[in-house]
């Protein structure tokens, strides 16, 4: 198992937002978590990456990380594309990418990976010496994905990657995530409101409603389910 949550609860002091969530991601799978605003999607991401305190067991490749700090979790091989992209606006594009590789000491291979992501996203290569804050929304999303990949993770978390992107850029982004999944055999956990597009690349999915898992199933099952259709697909 790549990632396994067993009865995880978390919140921000005033009360729990997540109530005993259990879910798993198998190696090589793309798992999507659907949910409306306020369902607890971002809280779930933060709980996994260790930014907020959480209870219950979170196993990453069998190792309990529920008491591990975020900077250690990155070193274990779990990277995140944060919500709103988390661009470091005053760093250049290249410095942003290098920040992704902060946990690595193999500088020769870091440079190879830089070249690799510049090849994948030539737009970033052209702008490598510019402040990342000057990039367009789509370019910043490419930057966020490749920055997370620069840590050479074995599991990639994506927090609402379609946020603020045009439908066309969203399409391209998810195509890109799919190709990362295929080429690198990358396990992914994606939190997303855009159910149609997310289920398109997902193996399985969970439906999160007010902090609990309301439904689980394969991508096809969820697409066919009336509840998901009515609430998230709109037909």
């Amino acid at each position: 198992m790549s990632l396994e949550l067993q009865g995880v609860s978390a919140g921000y002091g005033a009360g729990d937002v997540l109530h005993e969530i259990s879910l798993d991601v198998r190696p090589g799978e793309v798992v999507v978590i659907l949910g409306a605003n306020g369902a607890g999607k971002t809280t779930l991401m933060r709980a996994v990456s260790g930014v907020i305190p959480r209870r219950g067991r979170i196993l990453f490749e069998g190792k309990d990380i529920s008491r591990t700090g975020p900077e250690q979790i990155v070193r274990l091989g779990l990277a995140q594309v944060p919500q709103g992209r988390g661009t470091f606006v005053d760093l250049t594009v290249e410095e942003n990418l290098r920040t992704g590789a902060l946990s690595r000491r193999d500088s020769a291979r870091v440079n190879e990976d830089l070249d690799r992501w510049y090849t994948t996203y030539p737009r970033l290569a052209e702008r490598r010496r510019q402040k990342a804050g000057l990039l367009s929304g789509g370019e910043q999303q490419m930057l966020a994905v490749s920055r997370a990949m620069m840590s050479r993770p074995r599991l990639l978390l994506c927090d609402e990657p379609s946020l603020g992107l045009s439908p066309r850029l969203t399409q391209e982004l998810f195509a890109s995530l799919r190709s990362i999944n295929e080429e690198w055999d990358m396990s992914m956990l994606i939190v997303e409101q855009n159910a149609a597009i997310a289920l398109g690349i997902a193996t399985r999915g969970y439906l999160l409603e007010v902090g609990t898992i309301a439904r689980a199933g394969s991508a096809d099952e969820l697409s066919d389910s009336d509840a998901v259709r009515a609430a998230y697909l709109g037909y």
Binding site: S49, V51, P70, E71, V74, R75, Q80, P82, G86, T87, F88, V89, D90, L91, E95, R98, T99, G100, L102, S103, L114, D115, Y118, T119, T120, Y121, P122, R123, A125, E126, R128, R129, Q130, L134, G138, M142, R147, S151, R168, L169, Q171, E172, L173, A175, S176, S179, E183
Partner: protein, 389 residues
């Protein structure tokens, strides 16, 4: 706007670029050596005073500019260094050089202690913690009058010049203080530059820009903030030590909140989070009061230093967000463009993927290249310049 074709283009890392940088460094060193021969001794000691202030501003800039955490307590670190040197040399006969080191260590330690509560806080609350430090310090100096001389002050702090012909003349002590201050400023600039170039510097800016994202990327928040706070405080402390030996007299009033505000003004006017802007700013906060005092003694009016600062800061805030450093950068940008050096492998690979359908097929995000027309070099250059304004 001047187009890129009319501007001088310098390739980064080329012989010309390197040569210009070396020439710039040599010019600064030559100026430092020439000043003692050109200026009257009292002007030279003013330059020394300005260097000491500039040092403190450079230290503050590490924390407040690069780190993004406003400190209202830097006069206290400056004073802590000054009193460490003052008390150790006059009261215990410690060698001044050793007292400098002690001051650096003490200020680093106090900086770290202040950093810990500041870690759990953000924005205005960090400022409040440091404000407390800034307010407590003068009170402590008065409270421990046996040690510090209290509000009467501590007299006779001095650093005897070494036994060299250069420092043996009538103005030997002025020269010595001047060189101490110049060396201190150079050291502060080098320390900040080395810290900020590379892995650690990227972590500092990442934390300032987006703390949560930085932590997710693996930035060690506590370690980074603590080192920034401690280093910033110890640079201010060393500046204080140098201030002590060159002024000879320390009173608690010299290290009040007002001095911190001057340091902050210097940082903003010079250009926060630039490398040499704070040096300019430090010189300005030293010389504006001097000039305005000289001016008012000539025509008998009030000393208007405060008004001058107020007007400059308002102008900077509205028209020149990145300070004097930003102004110089913009002006230079009109005539010179430093072209980044591209790695040999990347652009060719990047172009290949744009033109070969085989790759765009797989990496869909490389496709939107067509929604923005490929600009020629000069076009890219001028949009860069326009965006940087």
């Amino acid at each position: 706007m001047t187009s890129a074709k009319q501007r001088l283009v310098i390739v980064e890392g080329s012989a010309l670029h390197l040569g210009l940088r070396i020439a710039g460094a040599l010019a600064i060193i030559a100026t430092a050596f020439a000043l003692p021969y050109v200026l009257e001794p009292f002007r030279l000691s003013q330059i020394a005073g300005a260097c000491v202030y500039a040092m403190a501003v450079v230290g503050l800039n590490l924390l407040a500019g690069f780190g993004g955490q406003i400190s209202l307590g830097h006069a206290a670190f400056f004073g802590l260094g000054a009193y460490t040197t003052g008390v150790l040399t006059t009261g215990y006969g410690v060698d001044p050089a050793l007292s400098f080191l002690v001051g650096i260590v003490v200020c680093f330690a106090v900086g770290v202690i202040v950093a810990f509560p500041a870690l759990r806080l953000r924005g205005i609350y960090v400022a409040l913690v440091t404000l407390a430090v800034g307010l407590i310090f003068p009170t402590l100096v008065i409270r421990f009058a046996d040690l510090t001389g209290g509000s009467t002050g501590l007299f006779g702090v001095t650093y005897q010049p070494p036994d060299l012909a250069y420092f043996s003349g009538f103005n030997g002590r002025v020269y010595w203080n001047y060189w101490l201050a110049v060396a201190g400023l150079a050291l502060a600039c080098l320390v900040v530059r080395n810290l900020m170039n590379g892995r650690f510097g990227r972590s500092v800016i990442a934390l300032r820009d987006n703390e949560t994202a930085a932590v997710i990327m693996g930035v060690n928040r506590t370690g980074t903030r603590v080192v920034v706070f401690g280093t910033s405080a110890s640079i201010a402390g060393l500046a204080g030590s140098l201030f002590a030996v060159s002024s000879g007299l320390l009173t608690p009033l010299s290290f009040s909140l007002l001095l911190t505000l001057y340091f902050l003004a210097g940082m903003i006017i010079g250009g926060a989070s630039s490398f040499w802007g704070p040096v300019l700013g430090g010189f300005l906060i030293y010389f504006v009061p001097v000039w305005s005092a000289e001016l008012s003694s000539i025509n008998g009016s009030q000393n208007l230093a405060g008004v001058v600062f107020g007007v400059i800061i308002i102008l900077i805030t509205f028209f020149l967000r990145s300070g004097l450093a930003g102004l110089v950068r913009t002006l230079l940008g009109l005539v010179v463009r430093v072209e980044p050096r591209m790695p040999v492998a990347v652009p060719s690979a990047a172009r290949a993927s744009l033109s070969e359908p085989r790759l765009t097929e797989r990496h869909h995000l490389s496709a939107p290249a067509d929604d923005r027309p490929e600009l020629d070099r000069s076009g890219v250059g001028s949009t860069d310049a326009a965006r940087n304004h």
